[in-house]
């Protein structure tokens, strides 16, 4: 890896200050599970790395009257094991539990998971100078795109790798972003950015800014949520397709729904058409199927990934039915 200066921040203020000394060439490091691999592969070459490990004020999980507050340094293991999250925010606990391996989850953080860089094999290999790294083309278009997006405006065709992001989005989460000049709250719906808007990043964070906290509104007692993740290798894998579903239920009837997909687009993909297909309906197999079909409407597969359409349709349908039952989808 390239040599860099390593700063161990002990407070949020210190971290922000360190990040803003030379914002364009400084990277924050949370659990390091993604950044370290980027450093080793020389994909990220910062001159300064600011470790957030010692910033205690970012490592918390707290349930308040307004909902759940999770510091960006809370680990995925903490989230997956948290009784309140397992109870009222099940989709998020399930998403956290589906990430990597136990070793990774004990290091990886929520902030890191939301802000991780894509797994695209062209992006990750030093030899391919792709669009995202300032090159002149997306190699996936004429190359191997089995794992790539079926919903992308281009010019890059990555899928967003996070499992926690779609789950948090389905639960209506907001991101609290801190910078040297203050802070702002952004709905996760608006946090992620498509490559035609932001080619060199995947979200609205700008150099010098830090994702400090994720706030999830307190669910109504009738909210049921789940995250269904299809992995090619169940032991250890990123999502081939995934679906986070949150249903506000009135008995058998769905008042409203939130559905967000993973593994199909450069951002966690919110699918309002599928939600409309559910709202006001008693959820049957047929209704779930119709919603799943609506979720995949407009998909534009590449040369090797047309299978993602039927696969994601199944994942969405089963996730909806599992959410109704308050279980996890069998995949």
């Amino acid at each position: 890896m390239h040599p860099f200066q390593y700063v161990q921040a002990t407070s949020l203020r210190e971290a922000i200050a360190a990040l803003n000394r030379s914002p364009d060439t400084t990277k924050p490091m949370a659990g390091g599970q993604d950044l370290l691999t980027e450093l080793k592969e020389r994909i990220a070459q910062p001159t300064t790395v600011v470790s957030l490990r010692g910033v205690r004020e970012l490592r918390f999980i707290r349930e308040g009257a307004d909902g759940l507050h999770i510091g960006s340094m809370a680990t995925l293991a903490e989230i997956e094991q948290h009784p309140q999250i397992r109870g009222s925010y099940a989709a998020l606990a399930q998403a956290a539990a589906s990430v990597g391996s136990p070793q990774i989850r004990s290091q990886a953080t929520l902030g890191g998971n939301l802000c991780q860089r894509p797994r695209c094999w062209y992006y990750r290999a030093e030899e391919f100078h792709c669009l995202k790294k300032g090159g002149d083309r997306c190699f996936a278009v004429a190359g191997e795109n089995k794992y790539h997006a079926i919903f992308s405006p281009g010019p890059c065709h990555i899928v967003h790798p996070s499992d926690c992001a779609p789950a948090a989005m389905a639960l209506g989460a907001k991101a609290r972003i801190v910078s040297a000049t203050g802070e702002r709250q952004v709905s996760l719906d608006d946090f992620f950015e498509m490559p035609n808007r932001n080619l060199f990043g995947e979200n609205v964070l700008r150099p010098g800014e830090l994702l400090a906290e994720v706030v999830i509104p307190k669910p109504k007692g009738t909210l049921r949520s789940t995250y269904a993740k299809f992995r090619e290798r169940p032991s250890f894998d990123f999502a081939m397709c995934g679906a986070a579903v949150a249903l506000d239920m009135d008995g058998d009837t769905c008042r409203s729904a939130r559905i967000v997909l993973s593994g199909v687009a450069p951002v966690p993909l919110h699918v309002p058409d599928a939600e409309t297909a559910l709202s006001g309906k008693r959820i049957t197999q047929e209704i779930a199927s119709a919603a799943a079909t609506a979720a995949l409407k407009g998909a534009q597969p590449m040369t090797d990934n047309a299978y993602k359409v039927p696969l994601a349709t199944t994942v969405v349908r089963r996730a909806i039915l599992a959410a109704v039952q308050g279980t996890e989808a069998a995949l």
């Binding site: 190699f139 004429a142 190359g143």
Partner: protein, 730 residues
């Protein structure tokens, strides 16, 4: 001396040779008189391995150690226009730089260009990037299809992409097809699999004057020694190769390799020891793989259950290397065959021997064909095999496996007919392997006056349990327990040894270990006999005692017996003798899978693996071999795939994230059924269990969903695509 034929192994490939063997043959005790042979003996090195004390090549650290690094081509095909190492040499901490050939034409991504040694792996990494290399890019071919196109660029200079056709014909194929009751005609393909040894390739080299010590992760310490001795013009006595423990080879680790000779040169130039271990990417790119095959298969048979005709036409590639052969029609007899094979060269790393070279793909191709043809003929697939398989051992294995898996009751009579989206199915596949072994090892048994025993042999343990097997054989002979012995192996100074390939290690080393222990025992008996008033031939050693065979009460403990030795103790050698091992194994596996037709997921539920290996030396490690083989076979069937990017010829998944190997959740229940055939002597079991698994899984998938996936690995996308193609047809 008598002349006999034995199977030997060179570079992972078997060959039968005639050798001179000592007169007289050995024999093993009768099964009811075995005390440790055939029992379950935990590995002698298990405590070292679980506590981390075991020292692998990766763990070797020496004072002043430097770190080696190989600079490799990022391009699939190019000529080096210019290479300048000035900046790298000038970087503080860089101690040696070698350019392999400044005008080299590199023919695959990962081809070696230069190497260096530095005080740390970080400095080595930085220095590697300071080497300025300019390339003239040459057109490449990244697939069999591309290589075969008219006017395709040549992958290798001065060599046609498609090699000479190898053709064989028996009987009258055309008439047999004409007279058949049914025939099938289909295209299949298998993928490139890389070895994925958990310990990567590599060595640590240390020079003391003109004497070289090399710690190597290798399947043959003696081959490493001889190769480096030749290269550096040294007598073999001045090169020492050591492999205390190693983390897998699977056929890819014979000889010193390019990395071995580079490391020795770097160490010589730098006048310091150098460690050069490859990283995971280099493993996938440059040190071997299992070739891919594309084949057109036609087969025909009779309603009475005979396979009457087989016609195959194939292209297979081992990248820039050869060795893409495979057996056909493999385990079945077919009177009329026309087999055409061609090797194709593409710009990718060269193939190497890989656990049962050619056989797992051959089994998948042949067993899929057998199932499809049986269905078309209206014959039960198991009956179809019974009719066309001449091997009597496998005939018994069919019964054993079928009963265990529930073939008669659990298998879908109509494939794909089970209700619901998640369907179960059962399938089977078979394999055959040689094994064998011959005179290569000399084992030394030392008995000390305090009763302790050392057994020494140069041979390395790939992780199969060779060390423990030697201990078991010697302990049986000496009437001791294996854990009471010290078995020292993996060092050329301990004497001549065989390369571990072709499943010949157990057949080579066990007879030598037995002979050596017997010779040592006889010397001990000669010392002890006078005090018991008998001759050495009247004595036995069992259960830690030495006693008069006909009057077991008359004797003494092993310790007391050894106390009668001189201070020098006993040191006795032994080499291979005939009569204790043989070759030729059969295997059959049955698999049950569950296929989710809406996601394409194939979930293996159970594999029943029925194998023979003659006399079982250690039941525990024999079973481990079968578990490991089944796992590797499952991984080949369902996940592993080297994927090359067409436009650049680069591998897109040279890691363990996207090159997927089975993990714990993908492992089904595995039932091992070991056939005991002690009368045959010992036979190796390293390779056979990997052979039938993919075939059995593929047939189980077909039985579950009624759709054939004709391309390995059987991943969810392919299952969904095959199902949707079938739905469109209907």
């Amino acid at each position: 001396m008598a002349k006999i034929k034995v199977t030997i192994n060179e570079g992972g490939f078997e060959r039968e040779v005639e050798i001179e063997a000592p007169e007289g043959t050995g024999s093993w005790p009768k099964p009811d008189q075995m005390h440790v042979l055939g029992k379950r003996t935990t590995r002698l090195e298990a405590p070292d391995k679980v506590t981390g004390r075991a020292r692998y090549t990766y763990d070797v650290n020496l004072p002043g150690l430097l770190y080696g690094k190989i600079i490799r081509s990022p391009h699939a095909h190019a000529r080096i226009a210019k290479i300048d190492v000035t900046k790298a040499k000038a970087l503080p901490g860089v101690k040696a730089v070698i350019v392999i050939d400044p005008n080299k034409e590199v023919t695959y991504q990962g081809d070696e260009i230069a190497a260096l040694a530095a005080v740390s792996s970080d400095v080595a990494e930085d220095a590697a990037r300071l080497i300025d290399i300019q390339y003239d890019l040459l057109p490449h071919v990244a697939s069999i299809d591309d290589a075969r196109k008219p006017g395709a660029p040549r992958a290798i200079p001065n060599r046609d992409n498609v090699g000479r056709e190898e053709r064989s014909e028996t009987g009258d194929v055309n008439s047999a097809f004409a007279a058949a009751d049914a025939a099938i005609d289909a295209n299949y393909s298998t993928q490139v699999q890389t070895h994925v040894c958990l310990e990567t390739h590599g060595v640590v080299c240390k020079w003391d004057g003109d004497e070289l010590t090399v710690w190597a992760s290798t399947q043959g310490v003696q081959g490493v020694r001889d190769e480096l001795a030749r290269e550096f013009g040294l007598p073999a006595s001045k090169v020492h190769a050591i492999t205390e423990h190693m983390g897998g080879g699977f056929g890819s680790k014979f000889g010193a390799g390019v990395e071995g000779s580079i490391c020795a040169r770097l160490a010589k130039d730098a006048k310091a020891p150098v460690k050069l271990m490859l990283d995971r990417k280099e493993e996938h790119l440059a040190v071997g793989n299992r070739p891919s095959i594309q084949i057109h298969m036609k087969a025909a048979g009779k309603k009475t259950g005979e396979l009457t005709a087989l016609e195959t036409d194939s292209y297979a590639t081992g990248g820039v290397g050869g060795g893409a052969g495979y057996p056909m029609p493999y385990v079945y007899s077919c009177p009329n065959t026309r087999i055409a094979k061609r090797e194709v060269f593409i710009n990718a790393g060269a193939a190497r021997a890989f656990r049962a070279p050619g056989c797992p793909p051959a089994a998948y191709l042949m067993e899929s064909t057998m199932d499809d043809l049986a269905e078309k003929l209206g014959v039960d697939p198991l009956e179809f095999r019974r009719k066309n398989d001449p091997n009597q051992t496998r005939q018994k294995q069919y019964d054993m496996g079928a009963e265990r898996i529930g073939w008669a009751t659990r298998r879908n009579k109509v494939p794909g007919s089970a209700p619901g989206p998640v369907k179960r199915g059962i399938g089977m596949g078979s394999g055959a392997w040689g094994g064998g072994g011959g005179p290569a090892d000399i084992v030394t048994t030392r008995i000390h006056r305090d009763g302790s025993v050392e057994v020494l042999c140069g041979v390395q343990d790939l992780g199969t349990g060779t060390r423990t097997a030697i201990g078991v054989v010697a302990a049986e002979e000496l009437g001791l327990q294996p854990h009471e012995l010290k078995v020292a192996i993996g060092h050329t100074d301990y004497g001549p040894s065989n390369g571990s390939g072709g499943s010949v290690t157990i057949g080579s080393v066990s007879p030598a270990a037995k002979t050596s222990a017997a010779n040592a025992k006889m010397q001990l008996f000669q010392k002890v006999a006078p005090s018991l008033g008998v001759t050495a031939n009247d004595l036995s050693a069992q259960n830690g005692r030495v006693f008069v065979t006909k009057d077991p009460a008359k004797g003494m403990s092993w310790k007391d017996a050894c106390a009668k030795l001189d201070a020098a103790g006993i040191s006795a050698q032994g080499s291979w003798i005939p009569g204790l091992n043989s070759s030729g194994t059969a295997g059959t596996q049955f698999a049950e899978v569950e296929v989710d037709t809406e996601t394409g997921r194939v979930r293996p539920l159970r594999v029943v693996a029925v194998h023979d290996c003659g006399l079982v030396v250690n039941r525990l490690t024999a079973e481990s071999q079968i578990y490991g083989g089944v796992l590797m076979g499952l991984s080949f069937a369902l996940l592993e795939d080297r994927i090359l990017d067409g436009p650049t010829g680069r591998m897109v998944n040279p890691n363990m994230e996207d090159y997927k190997v089975v993990g714990c959740l993908e492992v089904p229940q595995i039932d091992v059924i070991l056939m005991d055939m002690p009368e045959r002597g010992v036979i190796g079991l390293g390779e056979p269990p990997v052979i039938p698994t993919a075939a059995a899984i593929a047939n189980a998938v077909y039985n579950a969903i009624g759709v054939r996936v004709r391309d390995l690995p059987i991943t969810p996308d392919k299952v969904l695509t095959a199902l949707s193609a079938k739905a469109k047809e209907a």
